[in-house]
C-alpha cells in the first residue's frame, strides 16, 4: 500500500516537474515575443491588472493566428497591466468545459473563446463574466438564437468577431474565373457546423448564377480522398469552405484534384495554399486583433457585451496559388496577389 502510493506520488511529481519546466520555457518565450519594452502605457487605471483567460478549441494555424492577434491587441492597449492565460482543449469538447470551469472559478475579468464549442462551454459556465469570441462563423447558430430575434448583438454576456468568409464575393470570384463551368461541387466535413452553414449560403449564391451545385461530405480525414475523387468525377470546379478537416488534409485534396485537373476555389488563405487555385480571404490575425480591441473596450471602458454588435472581417484580399495555377495552366487576372509559397 505504502509502496504503491509512493510510486504513484513519485511519478506524478516527476510529471509535474516536466510540466513546470516546459511552462517556464513557454512563458519566457511568450514574454520575449509579446511584451513591448514600454514601461508607461496609456491605461485608464494603472493600479489594476486585468486577468483574461483564453479557451482555444484546437491547435490549428487559423485559430492560433486569431489568438495571437487577440493577445497583441490587448498588450498594445494595456501593456503590462493585462495578464493573459491561454488554454487549449486539443479538440476535446469536454476539456473546453473543464477549462471554462477553471476560469470561472478563478474569477477572471474576461474570457476569450476561440471557436464554437469553446464559446458554448464558456456561455454555459458563466452569465456574468464578459465573453469575447472569435473564429465563430454565425453567432445565432452557435448560441441557438433564432434568426428572427437576431439583431446584430447577442443580448447576453457574449460578443466578438466572426470569421464568416465573404461568401457572396467568393461566389462572384468563381463566376469571374470559371464562367463556362456548369457543375460546382462543395466539399466539407459533415462534423463541422461552420462548414455546413457556409455550404448552404454559397450554394444559394452559386445557383443564382446558374450553376448546378452538389454537396460532398466526408466524416474525417480517412475518407477525404474518396469523397474528393467522386466530387472531381462530376464537377467542373470545386469549392472548399473554411473547414478544419479540409485545412488539415489540403495536401490530400490537392493530390486528387490536380490529377483530375479540377480547380478549387478555397474559403481562406491556408486552404488555398494547400489545394486551392484562388481565394478571397479574411485574415484570422485581424479578426483576433479586432476581438482584442472589443475586449479592451469592455475591460477599460465598461462597454456592455450584450449590446456590442458582432464584428465581421474588415477587408478581403484576392489571392491565388501560383504553383497550382501553373499546373492547371490557368492564368489569373492582374488584381490577384500570389500567395507566398514556402
Amino acid at each position: 500500500m505504502k509502496k504503491l502510493l509512493s510510486v504513484i506520488m513519485a511519478s506524478a511529481l516527476a510529471l509535474s516537474l516536466v510540466a513546470c519546466g516546459t511552462d517556464a520555457a513557454a512563458k519566457k518565450e511568450a514574454s520575449n515575443d509579446s511584451e513591448p519594452a514600454v514601461e508607461e502605457t496609456a491605461t485608464t487605471d494603472d493600479s489594476k491588472t486585468y486577468n483574461v483567460g483564453v479557451i482555444q478549441l484546437v491547435q490549428h494555424p487559423a485559430l492560433d493566428a486569431a489568438t495571437e492577434g487577440f493577445q497583441a491587441a490587448l498588450v498594445d492597449k494595456l501593456g503590462s497591466s493585462v495578464n493573459i492565460t491561454v488554454e487549449n482543449a486539443s479538440g476535446d469538447n469536454s476539456t473546453c468545459a473543464t477549462i471554462a470551469n477553471s476560469f470561472v472559478s478563478d474569477n477572471v475579468d474576461l474570457i476569450m473563446a476561440n471557436a464554437t464549442p469553446a464559446l458554448q462551454a464558456s456561455g454555459t459556465a458563466t452569465s456574468t463574466i464578459p465573453i469575447v469570441a472569435t473564429s465563430i462563423t454565425d453567432y445565432a447558430t452557435a448560441l441557438g438564437i433564432s434568426v428572427d430575434d437576431w439583431s446584430g448583438a447577442t443580448g447576453v454576456n457574449v460578443t466578438g468577431t466572426s470569421d464568416l468568409a465573404p461568401l457572396d464575393g467568393q461566389a462572384e470570384m468563381l463566376k469571374e474565373l470559371f464562367p463556362d463551368a456548369k457543375e460546382v461541387g462543395i466539399i466539407y466535413c459533415s462534423g463541422e457546423d461552420n462548414s455546413k452553414f457556409q455550404a448552404g449560403k454559397i450554394k444559394g449564391y452559386l445557383e443564382d448564377y446558374g450553376y448546378t451545385v452538389s454537396e460532398y461530405t466526408f466524416s474525417d480525414s480517412s475518407d477525404v480522398a474518396t469523397v474528393v475523387q467522386s466530387a472531381c468525377g462530376s464537377s467542373d470546379v470545386l469549392y472548399v469552405p473554411t473547414d478544419n478537416v479540409a485545412a488539415s488534409c489540403a495536401e490530400t485534396i490537392n493530390n486528387v484534384a490536380v490529377t483530375a485537373k479540377v480547380p478549387i476555389v478555397a474559403g481562406e488563405e491556408g486552404i488555398c495554399k494547400g489545394c486551392g487555385i484562388a481565394t478571397l480571404s479574411i485574415s484570422y490575425y485581424d479578426i483576433g486583433y479586432a476581438a482584442g480591441l472589443m475586449a479592451y473596450e469592455i475591460l477599460a471602458n465598461g462597454a456592455d457585451p450584450a449590446t456590442m454588435d458582432i464584428q465581421y472581417a474588415p477587408e478581403f484580399t484576392k489571392e491565388y496559388n501560383p504553383t497550382i495555377a501553373e499546373q492547371l495552366g490557368i492564368t489569373l487576372p492582374d488584381d490577384y496577389v500570389a500567395i507566398e509559397m514556402e
Partner: protein, 309 residues
Amino acid sequence: MGIETLIAGLPGTAAQGIIYGIMALGIFITFKLLNFADLSVDGSFATGGAVAAMVIISGHSWILALVLAFIAGALAGLITGVLHTLLGIPDILSGILTQLALYSINLRITGNQPNTPISVDKYNLAVSLRYKTDALITVLVIAVIIISIMYWFFGTEMGSAIRATGTNPAMTKAQGINVNLMKALGLVLSNAFVAFAGALSAQFNGNADVNMGRGAIVIGLAAIIIGEVFCNALFKKKRNFILTLTFVVFGGILYYLFIAIVLWLKMPANDMKLFTAIIVAIFLAVPYLKNKHNSSFRKAAKRGGKENA
C-alpha cells in the same frame, strides 16, 4: 492561478467526473463483467447527447430527454449485439462498425447539424456548468441510484447469468443459459447507461456535438482502472461488488481531477493525451508488478530454489 482556483473549481470538476463515471459504469458491464471490448460507446455517448438535445429544444422536459437517450443507447447496443451474436462478427469489429454507423445516425437525429447548442438560459436542464453545486448534487444522486440498480440487477438470476457468461462461457452454456442472449443484453444495458451519461454531458456543457464521444472509451477505461487500483489499495480483501461500482465513479472524478491539475499546471495541451496514457499505464502496471514481486513462486525460488533443484 493559485491553488484556491483549483479548489473553487472542484464542484464543476467533480460533477464532470461523475458524469463520465456513470459512462464508465456502462463500460464496466461489457469490459469487466462480460469480457467484451465494446468500442461502440464512442458513438452511443454522442447518440445520447444528440437525442437529449433534440428532445429539449423541441420543448420537452429533461426527464423525457434522459429516458429517450437511455432507450436510444439501448438500441445502439442492440445493433452491436446482433452483429456479434447473430452474424458472428468479432467483438472489437462489431463495436467499430456500430460506432461508424452511429456517426451518420447521430447526424440524422440532429437534422444534419453537427453541433446543437442547448442554452441553460432558455431551457430547464438536469445539470449545467453554470450551477456547479446543484449539478454536483444532481449527478451524485443519479449515480447512487444507478449503482443501486446495478447492484440489485447483477444479484438477480438474469444478472448473475450475464456475469457467468463473462467469467466462463463454456460452463455457462453447459448450465443451459443462452450465452448469446446474455451478451446482447449486457451490450444493450451498457450502451443505455453510456448514452444516458452522454445526455447529461451535453446538458452540462451546453451543446451536443457529433464529435463529443471521441475518446469516450479511453476515459471510461481510465476511470475503471484508476478506481480499481484505489479500491484494491484501500480495501484489499474486503472488496465487494458495491465498492467496486462506487470506485468506478470515483475513478471518473479522479480522472477529471488529473485533467484539471494538468491544466492548472499549464502543461502544453498537445501533451495531454500522452499524460493520460502514462497515468493509465502506471495504474495498470503497478498492481501487476506488485503481484509479481509478492509472488510465492518467486519467494520460494529465492529461499530454497537452489538446494531443491
